[in-house]
C-alpha cells in the first residue's frame, strides 16, 4: 500500500472517530442529563426545586426525600410486587422463548414453518390493540388485583422466540450434529450444547426482558388498584397523586430507588455478557 493511500485511510479513520465521539456525546447528553437532574432533584429541599436560575447542586443536601418515599407510600409493598411480577413474567418469557425457539430451529416436526409465521404475526400486533380484550377477559375471570391477572397476559414471547431462534440457527451445524451422533437427546442437546453456546445472546435477551418487565406500566396500572399487587412504577404515580404535582423531591427519590435495582442487574449481567462473548471468540 502506498504511503498516500495509507494516510488517506488514516485520515478517514480520524474523521470517523470525530463523528463517533460526537455521536457518543450526543447520546450521553440525551441520557445522562435527565438522569443527572433526577438524582440532583431527589436530594433537593422542596423550596429549592422550582427556582430561577436553576440550581445544579442540591444545597442544602436533603436526604429526607428518601425516607419520605418509604413513609408516604407503602414503598416496600410496591417493591415486593415489582420483584414478584418481574421475576415470574421474565422467567416465563425466557423459558418459553428458549424452548419455543429451540423447537422452531432445531427440532423437526410437521407445520413448523407455519407455526413460526403465526408467531411472527403475533409479534406484529401492537400491545395496545389487545389490551382492551385482555382487560375484559381478565376482569371476567375475576383476576383484577391478582398477580396472575398481571403476569399471564404479559408473558407472551414472540420477541424472545424470534431472537433465540435466530441465535440457535446461527450455531455451527456440525456441533449440533456431533451431539446428535453422540446420542444426546433433545433436552441434553439444549442444555449441554446449545445453551452454553448461546450464553451471550441469552443474557442479553434476559436483560432486555427483565428491564422491560420491571418498567411495565400500563397493564399493571389497569390491573391493580392498590399496594396488594401494584408494582413500583404504579406506586410512583400514587406518590405523585398524593402530594400534588409540585413536590418533586420524594418523587425523584422514588424514581432513583426504582432505577437502582435494574441498574445493578445491568452492571452485573453486562460483565457476564462480555465474558460469554470473549470465551466464544477463541475459536480457530
Amino acid at each position: 500500500m502506498s504511503g498516500q493511500a495509507e494516510s488517506a485511510i488514516q485520515g478517514q479513520g480520524r474523521v470517523g472517530k470525530v463523528f463517533g465521539y460526537a455521536a457518543m456525546v450526543a447520546v450521553l447528553a440525551v441520557i445522562a442529563v435527565p438522569l443527572f437532574w433526577i438524582v440532583v432533584t431527589s436530594f433537593k429541599a422542596h423550596d429549592h426545586i422550582y427556582v430561577r436560575p436553576a440550581e445544579y447542586l442540591p444545597i442544602p443536601f436533603t436526604p429526607e426525600n428518601y425516607s419520605d418515599v418509604t413513609t408516604r407510600i407503602p414503598f416496600f409493598a410496591y417493591f415486593r410486587n415489582s420483584v414478584i411480577i418481574t421475576f415470574f413474567t421474565a422467567g416465563i418469557k425466557i423459558v418459553l422463548g428458549v424452548l419455543s425457539a429451540y423447537a422452531l430451529s432445531l427440532l423437526r416436526f410437521p407445520g413448523r414453518g407455519i407455526l413460526f409465521v403465526v408467531i411472527l404475526a403475533a409479534l406484529m400486533v401492537p400491545n395496545q390493540i389487545t389490551i382492551i380484550s385482555n382487560f375484559a377477559l381478565v376482569a371476567q375471570l375475576g383476576w383484577k388485583n391478582t398477580f396472575q391477572g398481571i403476569i399471564i397476559p404479559l408473558a407472551g414471547v414472540a420477541f424472545g422466540t424470534f431472537l433465540m431462534r435466530n441465535q440457535f440457527l446461527s450455531l455451527p451445524h456440525e456441533i449440533i450434529e456431533a451431539a446428535r451422533m453422540d446420542g444426546a437427546g433433545p433436552f441434553k442437546l439444549l442444555w449441554r450444547v446449545v445453551m452454553p453456546l448461546s450464553w451471550p445472546t441469552l443474557v442479553a435477551f434476559s436483560l432486555i426482558t427483565i428491564v422491560n418487565e420491571w418498567n411495565e406500566y400500563l397493564w399493571p396500572f389497569l390491573m391493580s388498584d392498590d399496594e396488594r399487587t401494584a408494582p413500583l412504577q404504579v406506586g410512583l404515580t400514587m406518590l405523585q397523586n398524593n402530594d400534588g404535582v409540585t413536590n418533586w423531591g420524594p418523587v425523584m427519590a422514588g424514581t432513583v430507588l426504582t432505577i437502582l435495582p435494574v441498574l445493578i442487574l445491568f452492571l452485573v449481567l453486562q460483565r457476564q455478557m462480555i465474558k460469554g462473548l470473549t470465551s466464544g471468540a477463541v475459536k480457530s
Binding site: 450434529e177 456431533a178 451422533m181 446420542g183 475459536k283
Partner: protein, 366 residues
Amino acid sequence: MATVLFDEATRKYPKTEVPAVDKVTLEIPDGEFLVLVGPSGCGKSTTLRMLAGLEPVDGGRILIDGHDQAGVRPRDRDIAMVFQSYALYPNMTAFENMAFALRNAKVEKAEVEQRVTEAAKILELEGLLTKKPGQMSGGQRQRVAMGRAIVRQPKVFCMDEPLSNLDAKLRVSTRSQIAQLQRRLGVTTVYVTHDQVEAMTMGHRVAVLKDGKLQQSDTPAKLYDEPVNTFVASFIGSPAITMTRSAVREGEVTIHGLPVSLDRSTLSAARGDVVVGFRPEAWQVVGAGEPGIDVAVDLVESLGSEAFVHGEPARSHDDATVAIGADRVTFKVIGKTDLDVGDTVRIAPIAEQAHVFDAESGMRLR
C-alpha cells in the same frame, strides 16, 4: 465391526436439478479403510452424511451389517464421525468432550474414565484432558476429535476431511498416525478427502467420485495402473499424467508430432480418436538423433532422489496433436538432473506404459 453397503444410494437436495449423489453402489467389507476422493463439490460429504444418517437417502439403500438404515436415527447407528471443523463442544474440556457420548449412553463412570484415559494415551492427549478446545492448537483439537470417535468403539468411523485444517507438515505425520490407528483398531472406516495423495497413502481402497457418480473403487495401485477413464487417470497421480488426443492410423498414434505404435488389439476397440496418457515415469530422455519430442523445460522440481521436469513440446507445423488440458509434458528423471529452465530436451514415451482411452466416452480401452 461392520460391513457397509451403498446400494444405488442417491441424494437429491430439495430445489436442485441434479442429484448430489447419484446411484452410488459400493461395498465396504469389515475393517476396511475406504477413502472417498474427488474434487470439491462432487458429493463426498453428502455420501458420508447419508451413511451417518445426517442426510436422508432419496433413492436406493444403505445397509450396515445387512440392515437397511432407512429411518434409523444417527444416534442409533453406532457410527462415530470426525468433522472437518472438528465440531468440539467449546464449553467442555477435552475429557468431557470425549466422555460425552459415553455418558449419554449411560456407560459406568469407571469405564468412561478408563476408555477416555486409554484413548488419551493412544493419541498423546494426557496433558490436555482438563483443557477446553479454545486453549488448544489445531493439531490438538484434531486429536481430541479423533479421541471422541474412538472412545465410542463404534461400528463405523466416518471422517470428513479431518486433516484439511492442519498445516502441511502436521498433515503428513497425522496422516500416517490415523492410518496406523485404524489398522490397529480394525474399525471399518470411510474417510473423505479431496487430496489424492491422502487417498493413495491411507486407504485399503479408494473410491473416486465425480459429479455424484462413483467412477472407480479399487486399491491405490490398481487405480494408478488401470484407471477406468480419463477423469480417474488425471485425478490420481502427482504430478498429473500427460494426456493427448490423437487419431489412430495403422496401429499408430501421434503424440506431439511423434508417431508411437501401440498395442493393435487395444487400438482396434477405438471407434474414433483416442486419448493417450503417459505418467511422468513413462517417459525417457533420448539422444538428439533418436525419434522423440523436443521439450522446452520451464520448471524443474528436484526432490534429490528424483526430479520432475515440466515443459512445453516444441510444435512442428504438421503436428495434429490436441493436448488435453494444458499443452504440457511432465516427466520424471531418476537421481539428480542437470536440466534447467530454458533447456531443450528430447524425450520419448515408453509405449508399453501408455494408458489408452476412447476420446468420445473417455473410457479405458482394453
